[in-house]
């Protein structure tokens, strides 16, 4: 960080690039509409009736978002909004496409009813929060004032699902909070943003102590005992989440983001070593004690083993990837409904992508996420203030870790966890929180890319010197 905090990498004399953003946005709205047409033609041989509605809805959201960015964050990165819009649009199409499957949608077969309309509603709420954040938060540094309040809020959000009467357990993981009249919410999705604010504010103040006051031992910098305190506290909290909410994903996310930010703030590789050791210890410990996590690990190690005379979901996902092949079966022509329940819409949405768009489509989607993350990290590099840099790294790190955890889980690289693919998967909390996250990134990138205010012309300086002489 010491070199990063003083070095700013910028492209000289940047134009605002809002027109580029507009062109990309149009592109990003056209692609999902194309996908709608594709699904409709494949399934019913007609253009779907809802196509115009969804296309207009998405276009309207994108248009309003663009106008607000033009007005309130004119120098922001031109790619963040279009990529988020495209992913959200693709998610809507995929959910709508899975709505067409009776086994997923029809309550008679154990389905939950159509969800695309709901998801569009949640996306609207998400974009509204996005607009609100951009309009009300004029400068991201204001967040720095709320460092410790953020900590309290984040902890409250994390603990909320454990509170009896408030929390709800769904599919073994207790990460939901029931809100009377609204439905249920995953507070963890919002907590990830708030906790990034806390870590950024905290590490900005403490990074010198963490980086410099250490002894060298076997090539590693050992921090002082009292500096180890916070990292152990965060580790304990994430273990608590793991044990009491049996949620591997959230727990991994929080600890991972902390380690990433600690590493970026202090430039000490030893933190990564400690982090990996601590998380490995925690994971092994919990996998052996908690039956829910243990089962996930078993499914990961032996995906083809029979479970109640059925193959596991992990195996079914692998089958769907295999049946998709290189170029996929085409939208609307896959069999990901066989995964069962509503899982294809939420946890396993990537299976549908992999089957119907093939390896080529899945790679494109993953690269889109990669580009989004790259833009975030790039914004961190360009940011001038250390708090903005750290916050940007934290938010992007959350996003990246979440994508790694979900993609890794679905493709069988790591045990599956119950997290959602940002923007793509069905889920209100996720889409709302991620739009807010994008708004924060845009806010920081606007500040970072804004041209520096014009300096006083040198001739004036000369005249001042004459007076002084």
């Amino acid at each position: 960080m010491s070199s990063a905090s003083n070095t700013t990498v910028s492209t000289g004399g940047l134009p605002s690039r809002r027109n580029t953003e507009l062109a990309m946005l149009v592109f990003a709205v056209v692609i999902p509409v194309f996908a709608y047409a594709n699904v409709g033609l494949a399934k019913d041989e007609t253009l779907p009736a809802g196509m115009l509605g969804y296309g207009l809805g998405l276009g309207l959201l994108a248009g309003v978002a663009h106008l607000v960015v033009r007005r309130y964050a004119p120098y922001a990165d031109p790619l963040l909004l279009p990529i988020a819009t495209l992913l959200n649009g693709l998610g809507l199409v995929l959910i709508w496409r899975l709505d067409q499957e009776p086994t997923i949608t029809d309550p008679d077969f154990g389905g939950d009813g159509p969800m695309a309309a709901n998801q569009l509603l949640w996306s609207t709420v998400g974009v509204a929060l996005f607009l609100g954040t951009l309009m009300l938060l004029k400068d991201h540094r204001i967040l720095q004032r709320y460092t410790y309040i953020s900590m309290v809020v984040a902890l409250a959000l994390l603990v909320a699902p454990m509170v009896p009467g408030l929390g709800r357990q769904v599919h073994g993981a207790r990460i939901w909070v029931a809100l009377p009249g609204v439905g249920s919410l995953q507070p963890g999705e919002f907590a990830k943003i708030v906790i990034a604010v806390f870590f950024a504010g905290y590490l900005m103040v403490k990074r010198d102590a963490l980086a410099l006051a250490s002894r060298r031992f076997m090539g590693l910098y050992l921090p002082r005992g009292r500096d180890m305190g916070p990292i152990l506290v965060v580790w304990a909290v994430s273990l608590m989440i793991l044990i009491f909410e049996t949620d591997l994903g959230t727990s991994l996310l929080f600890f991972g983001v902390f380690i990433v930010m600690l590493y970026v703030a202090t430039e000490r590789t030893s933190w990564i070593v400690f982090g990996l050791l601590l998380s490995a210890t925690g994971a092994v410990l919990v996998a052996q004690t908690s039956p829910h996590v243990g089962e996930r690990v078993d499914n990961w190690l032996h995906p083809l083993a029979l479970e109640n005379d059925n193959v596991t979901e992990t195996a079914q996902v692998m089958y769907s990837f295999g049946s998709g092949g290189l170029f996929g079966s085409g939208l609307g022509q896959g069999y990901s409904r066989l995964i069962g329940g509503i899982a294809p819409k939420s946890d396993y949405i990537l299976a549908t992508v992999g089957e119907e768009l093939g390896l080529a489509g899945l790679m494109a989607v993953i690269i889109l996420y990669g580009l989004l993350i790259e833009r975030g990290m790039r914004t961190a590099l360009a940011a001038r203030d250390p708090f903005g840099k750290l916050l940007c790294v934290g938010l992007t790190g959350c996003f990246a870790l979440q994508i790694f955890v979900v993609t890794g889980g679905v493709t069988g690289l790591i045990p599956l966890t119950g997290m959602t693919m940002p923007f793509l998967a069905q889920g209100g909390s996720s889409v709302i929180a991620n739009w807010a996250l994008i708004a924060l990134l845009l806010r920081i990138s606007d500040t970072a890319r804004r041209p520096a205010p014009a300096p006083a012309p040198s001739l004036d300086a000369e005249q001042t010197q004459v007076v002084r002489a």
Partner: protein
């Protein structure tokens, strides 16, 4: 719907998806080529060029402060910013760890506002230590007062060495 149409749509959709990715990469291509590292004042100056020229045209040309053989640029020869040059155009250059310095030094031995380099009325460049903790060295001697800089003499601040060149 015929098999052919669906196949064309399927491959067409993948092509469009990848086209978006490629266009997006094109948009950020400017990050890879034509970036510049720090030197915020340099970036400002390129933007300031037109007004500065307009001003020069409007007023009588300032006296020939750029004497023949006077240095035209400041070069950082050692330290983390080595290789950076800053054009000397009659402005005061501040050096230090403070973020608003002309040259932001990333150096544990540099003070927040370490030193400044400025032209006197005759166009002679002067270096002045601004009360730094570890001192500013011109060649071998530690500075105590503002001193004119002979061309090609190294000025050392912590691990950073700068020189004025023609």
């Amino acid at each position: 719907m015929s098999e052919l149409t669906l196949t064309v749509m399927r491959l067409g959709f993948l092509a469009v998806l990848w086209l978006f990715v490629i266009v997006a990469v094109q948009v950020i291509r400017s990050d890879l080529f034509g970036t510049r590292v720090t030197q915020r004042p340099v970036a400002r100056r390129t933007e300031q060029q037109p007004p500065a020229q307009a001003r020069r045209a409007a007023q009588p040309p300032p006296r020939a402060r750029q004497r023949r053989g006077a240095p035209s640029k400041l070069v950082i020869t050692e330290g983390s910013l080595a290789g950076t040059t800053v054009a000397l155009q009659g402005q005061t250059i501040t050096l230090g760890r403070a973020h608003d310095s002309t040259i932001v030094l990333d150096d544990d031995y540099a003070s927040g506002r370490h030193a400044r380099i400025y032209p006197d009325r005759d166009g002679q460049w002067i270096v002045e230590d601004l009360g730094s903790t570890n001192g500013t060295y011109l060649d071998r001697g530690r500075l105590t007062t503002p001193v004119p800089i002979p061309p090609g003499t190294p000025i050392r601040i912590g691990k950073t060495v700068i020189e004025l060149r023609k």
